[in-house]
């Protein structure tokens, strides 16, 4: 007897069928998938261009199946700007970690956002440098231990962790800026909605869009994957609240 099967869950076309290089419990994989789903659902894969960062996700082009540029550390928004200005018909997105975007690439993200470049930024905030082995990032929480603050981050020496979304939302230029998390199914569903919305604003030619995704780094946090999700809930979210900071549809939300 023939068994009828219906596919109810598929790999997005924009996601390659490859083995991951990310550590167990790392949320890059979830974020990659959400970006790929948004690209597929908006039907823009064949006119999309990604810009890869330096960091663990330097290999994002091995997973997301669109044309890609690989930027110098922190400069993805500058590359995206140059590309998008010449090809406004293409959908240009950067995928950047917190060391890349909030430290070495601070000037590039600030000015791209303020110019209102019609690009989409996927900002992975896990509060640490992953690829180089767990050093302090501008987003590392107060007291958090890393290899370059082994006694815990001392804010009297290194300042307070930078809240990028809040800062970028202060600009008068229209933008869509939202912070999400991906450590529970509920949060993943919300994150997907935000990412799709961000890409859609670009498709419509509306504004600059950025989604900050609070992510885990069990390996460099020295925690198990389960402990890492708990850390997100108890430590990260209280300092980095999940909310939409700016939305052209709801200008009253602006800071």
């Amino acid at each position: 007897m023939a068994i009828e099967t219906n596919a109810i869950f598929e790999r997005p076309e924009a996601l390659r069928d490859v083995v991951t290089h990310y550590c167990p419990g790392c949320t890059h994989g979830v974020a990659h998938r959400l970006v790929a789903e948004a690209i597929d659902e908006l039907g823009v894969r064949e006119r999309a261009l990604g810009v890869a960062p330096v960091g663990c996700s330097v290999f994002v082009y091995n997973y997301i199946n669109t044309d890609f540029l690989e930027a110098p550390h922190g400069r993805a928004p500058a590359l995206a700007t140059g590309f998008k200005r010449l090809r406004p018909d293409m959908i240009v997105f950067t995928y950047q970690g917190d060391g890349d975007l909030a430290s070495i690439g601070m000037a590039e993200i600030v000015h791209a956002a303020n110019r209102g470049e019609k690009i989409t930024v996927v900002f992975i905030n896990n509060g640490i440098y992953g690829m180089t082995g767990g050093q302090m990032a501008p987003t590392t929480l107060q007291g958090q231990v890393t290899t370059t603050c082994p006694m815990g981050r001392d804010i009297s020496l290194t300042g307070q962790p930078i809240r990028m979304s809040e800062m970028l939302a202060t600009f008068r230029t229209p933008a869509y800026i939202e912070r999400v998390a991906v450590h529970t199914p509920m949060h993943i569903i919300r994150a997907k909605k935000a990412i799709k919305k961000a890409f859609n604003y670009q498709v419509q030619g509306t504004c600059f869009s950025l989604v900050e995704i609070l992510s885990t780094c069990p390996t460099n946090w020295g925690l198990t994957p389960a402990e890492s999700t708990k850390w997100i809930e108890e430590k990260t979210i209280p300092y980095y609240p999940l909310r939409c900071f700016k939305d052209p549809e709801r200008p009253e939300d602006a800071l």
């Binding site: 930027a71 700007t81 010449l86 000037a107």
Partner: protein
Amino acid sequence: MAKILMKGNEAIAEAAIHAGGTNYFCYPITPQTEVAEYLARRMPEVGGVFLQGESELAVSNMLFGAASTGKRVFTTSSSPGISLMQEAISYMAGAQLPCVIVNIMRGGPGLGGILPAQSDYYQSTKGGGHGDYRLLVLAPSTIQEAVDLMMLAFHLADKYRNPVMMIGDGMIGQMMEPVEFPDHYEEPELPPNDWAADGAKGREARIIKSLFLDPIALEKNSHILHDKYDQMKKDEIRYELYKVSPEVNVLLIAYGTMARICQTAIDELEDEGIKVGLLRPITLFPFPEKQIYEEATKKNIKSVLTIEMSMAQMLDDVEKAIMGRKPVHFFGRTGGVVPSPEEIKEQVKKLTAPKRKKSTSKPKKKKA
């Protein structure tokens, strides 16, 4: 088209547009800011892209992104700004992206000064940023030549998929001279573009990158780059001879506007009965090594004098070319001080004056 009087910086800007270089990213810096000011008005007229970035670092990376579209892109800057651009230039060389970068050089190191200099020769011709790569480097000596080379630069960048740098000292940017633009710009055919990131429609996704973690793959990429540099050495060397003849005893080597000042000195020396010739490299990479060797080793040449607006940088390449076969001397002024024809004449006369015989000197051996 009739000749018009134009400032060098503006002529360079207009030349780019004539060659289809209608995508420009910039950051203000003296003495090249007029390029940006000119193009801020001109680019919208021709439907091009003009963008002032937040820093030279960002500008060079915007250029990187823009070059990935396969369209003609360029930037202009001056010495300290060019130093900041080295990051993206290295990446573009590694990723084989065409672009044109103009350096209207000022004195250094550091903030230096704002007056003309040629002290970025090493930076331009030996790579400039990190890694094993070269730029194709062009050095005009007149505003008309700056126009011609600017147009050529875009072609060469596309032909080799490599950044091309045109370097001029501050005078090239600031002088006004009559220039002529072609009515119809024609250039040789280029290979079809099969590398630009223009969307993965009906093909595999393209990845423009300079990262090769596998050492064998990285070495292979370096070989691909160096094969291109070897091809440039075969096909792209450009230079000019001035009053080089069998009667000449001293051969001057100078590039850019320095070469023009040498020409004045040569003309005046000729009136005094002293015959001097000039070899002016137009491409600094590839460098006219063989041509310099051939000219310098001719029997009539007693000595070679390299003249630069720097503390001797091109001198290294001249000495390398001549391989010790003839004495090579150097004269230079720097920091924005430009050698005068009088100073050059004085240097030449030191070389051509009959030498007194020292009593202790050994008798010269003659070859059989």
